[in-house]
């Protein structure tokens, strides 16, 4: 069967209370919060996080492809999938593709993954990652909704899977609903919100109704429905129109996290899989210039439960989120404020040559004295001085601070001053120097002996491209 072997999610550390938006612009106050990525995060870095979560206990070398879905991809002529696959340490003989420009890109990527696995006997597992960091125009109502997050689904063919994918159905519809011109717009525009709502309802109802009909199912046969929506009223209307029973339509996201865009349906699905009912049929639907509905069924409840226990998923991230105290921080995160951003020189050549160490996080182990060291640019051991005795070893993404400082002098494009510069002894060996992100009050909170996790972040924009590297953060609980 073809289905979902694993899932993972990433929700950024911070939440913006909607009240702060209302106060900032003297808008009517709207309840709830929304998830906000930091300035050093984008759809690519959040996809790495979701991918890491999804692949806990799964060898990345066994994955045959990676599809990336987003409306906020960081490059146009250069994909993100190949870089995400590299950082996740996947093989080179894999398929990669970006699915972009529509909020249904995530569900569409899942349908394409199913088809690819069906059509190609050598491709058994495709990791689909969806992420968005849509920036709302300040002082518009979009600010209440647009939020940031990522999720990953591992689509696989296997005799036994937690969840099977049994059918999908899609429609295409060209509507000038919300848009963003590739050449001109920084923010999303719309022509007529009420027309947008009409087309949303029509499309999402059509694909879900049709897939039920094709499979001779009634709304009461559905155990959970995870469909994209961008406001709570729309969510309720769809649930009523579809005649879903109480608790079937998933609404765990909007009030706390907001409209996550492309990964929203995935995150709703992951939320629904926490308490799986045996053999439950599950619907997932995405919307954007048309819609996709995907029909799934619980096949292995224990395996699903186990995924819930071993991944941060939805809950693990949710419980480690923290509310921002002021709206300006949000503007800073979204780079709306034109700060003089420190850049450094860069070299695409150096970074490519050092891919194994800077992206895949490999160090070297001296065969002569056993010391694990980083980076792997050197040829002679700094402990025993043996020449050319190194073998590559994968380094851990966790460690303990040996010493540190808070650097007030040299910040960075994506670092708040003071920058905690941390010398870290990695679990299992290797000492590294990393900047710390996601830290409040570093004067009080950074300490020798502190446990940290590594997170892949934007470092700077030297040479006019995106320079990514690992940073550390206080533990959030990644396994």
């Amino acid at each position: 069967m073809i289905g979902i072997k694993s899932y993972g999610a990433y929700l950024p550390r911070y939440l913006l209370p909607r009240e702060l938006i209302g106060k900032a612009w003297e808008f009517p106050i709207v309840p709830g919060t929304k998830a906000v990525a930091m300035a050093d995060e984008d759809s690519l870095t959040m996809s790495v996080e979701a991918g890491l979560d999804c692949l806990v206990g799964i060898d990345p070398k066994t994955i045959d492809g990676l599809f990336f879905a987003s409306t906020t991809q960081v490059y146009t002529e250069k994909d993100s999938a190949s870089l995400i696959a590299t950082v996740l340490d996947m093989r080179e003989d894999i398929i990669t593709a970006d699915f972009t420009d529509s909020l249904k890109a995530g569900t569409t990527a899942v349908t394409r993954a199913v088809d690819t696995i069906k059509a190609n006997k050598d491709i058994k597992r495709i990791l689909v990652v969806a992420a968005d960091t849509r920036a709302p125009e300040p002082s518009t109502m979009w600010e209440y909704g647009f939020a940031d997050g990522a999720a990953a689904l591992l689509i696989a063919e296997d005799d036994n899977l937690p969840l099977s994918i049994d059918d999908y159905y899609s429609v295409s519809a060209n509507v000038t609903g919300p848009w963003k011109r590739a050449d001109k717009d920084k923010f999303i525009r719309t022509f007529e919100v009420k027309m947008d709502a009409k087309f949303y309802l029509e499309n999402i109802i059509k694909v879900m109704s049709e897939i039920l009909k094709r499979n001779e199912l009634k709304p009461e046969d559905i155990g959970a429905a995870a469909y994209y929506y961008n406001n709570p009223r729309m969510y309720g209307r769809v649930a009523r129109m579809m005649k879903f029973a109480q608790g079937v339509a998933q609404n765990s996201v909007f009030f706390q996290l907001g409209d996550l865009g492309t990964p929203m349906a995935f995150v709703l699905l992951i939320g629904a899989l926490r308490r799986p009912k045996p053999d439950a049929k599950i619907l997932m639907a995405g919307f954007g210039d048309g819609a996709d509905a995907i029909l799934m069924q619980v096949r292995d409840r224990d395996a699903l439960r186990n995924l819930g226990k071993t991944r941060m998923g939805f809950i693990g991230h949710q419980k480690s989120m923290k509310a921002l105290k002021n709206y300006n921080k949000f503007l800073a995160f979204k780079e709306v404020l034109e700060k003089d951003r420190y850049t450094r020189k860069s070299s695409a050549v150096t970074i490519w040559r050092d891919t194994a160490s800077v992206y895949k996080w490999y160090g070297v182990k001296c065969k002569s004295c056993g010391t694990i060291q980083y980076p792997d640019m050197l040829r002679s051991c700094y402990v025993c001085r043996a020449d050319d005795q190194f073998e590559r070893v994968k380094l851990a993404l966790k460690g303990t601070i040996f010493t540190y400082t808070l650097d007030h002098l040299v910040g960075g494009a994506y670092l708040d001053i003071p920058v905690p510069r941390c010398v870290i002894d990695l679990d299992g060996g290797g000492r590294v120097l990393l900047n710390m992100t996601e830290i409040e009050k570093p004067e009080e909170n950074v300490q020798i002996g502190m446990r940290v996790e590594l997170t892949f972040r934007k470092e700077h924009e030297g040479a006019e491209f995106k320079n990514y590297y690992w940073k550390c953060r206080p533990e959030r609980g990644r396994p």
Partner: protein, 395 residues
Amino acid sequence: MVRKGIKDKVAIIGCDMTKYGELWDKNQYDLLFEAFHSACKDTGINKDEIDASWIGIFYYFTGLSGAMVEDILRLDGKPSTRVENFCASGMDAFRNASFAVASGAYDVVLACGVEKLMDEGGSGLPGFKLFGHPLYPTPSAPAMFSMAATRCFHDYGWTKEDLARVAVKNHDNGSDHPKAHFRSKITIDQVMKAPMIADPLGRFDCCAMSDGAAALILTTPELAESYAHADDYILVKANAISCRTNFPWYIPSNGPGADFTSFPATVKAAEYAYKEAGITDPRKEIDCAEVHDCFTITELINCQDLKFCDRGQAAEELKNGTFNWDGEIAVNPSGGLKSFGHPIGSTGCRMLTEITKQLQGRAEGRQVPDAKIGLCHNLGGAFAVCSTTILSQRD
């Protein structure tokens, strides 16, 4: 290791330095010109007597190549080489010049250093955007050294106040030096309350950005007899450099038990220098020392690594007055980098000039009593390069 060495083969026959500070109205050409001609005057020679030169410059924007010397001094095509070895650049220029004399290749040579930092603007050392790997973190210089402070606080129990005493002592000394950048005395309270630069190092824990130049003229002890300082030329007893890991500078194995609480380059360079000079008890034998104090923590750790006191004891020794101007070893009687700032390429030559004058009894207003043997020390990079020179009065 040291085969024949340079002990007693090289004499300093004249030296001088410019005023150090924010010298907005001068460029690097003015500074080197002034330092050189004062040194010539001190030596009592004409510039045509210089056979070859070595110049310490760290930054490319101060100047590239030995041709800088020709541009500024017009030595008529004589050999000249630019030396760059981090903060030890100036003292390494002196080392190369010493070798030239000791080998017999030249009679009279110039060792000099200059740096013009203030033209670059901004705060902190310029150029960090341009060095190194595109992705690895680029902590500022104080950030690198402050990590040692964090660790010393943890391991030795030192406090911010212990560091503050270094700044207070050095500014106290510097207040008597007419060429120092800063000539005000400060209090522990001022140091403690200053804005943070890199925790736990505040503004007074860090040396300043300054401009300056210094120059020394060297020859053999035999030839020294025929110059102005025939009676009080200074002998080079040893000059040693040690280079340890510069990258990755934060590795655990950077010397045994030296995890951010010791500078292995200093330990090794001191070991080489003491051996060549025949010094067995540095604390007793050395009278005055210019010790690299780019940051307060640097001086404390270096005093231990130079064997002026036991490991972990430097803060206590400082508190007890051991390193005061009139203590057992006068550490930074000039006021150090704290009072002079750190125009990188010049600093080593500035220290050598200071110790020369101390040993000659010419350190007006700041003369260390009975100074016979002195030491100069630089530590550069991220604890990577150390240069240690030992000078003594002539026999």
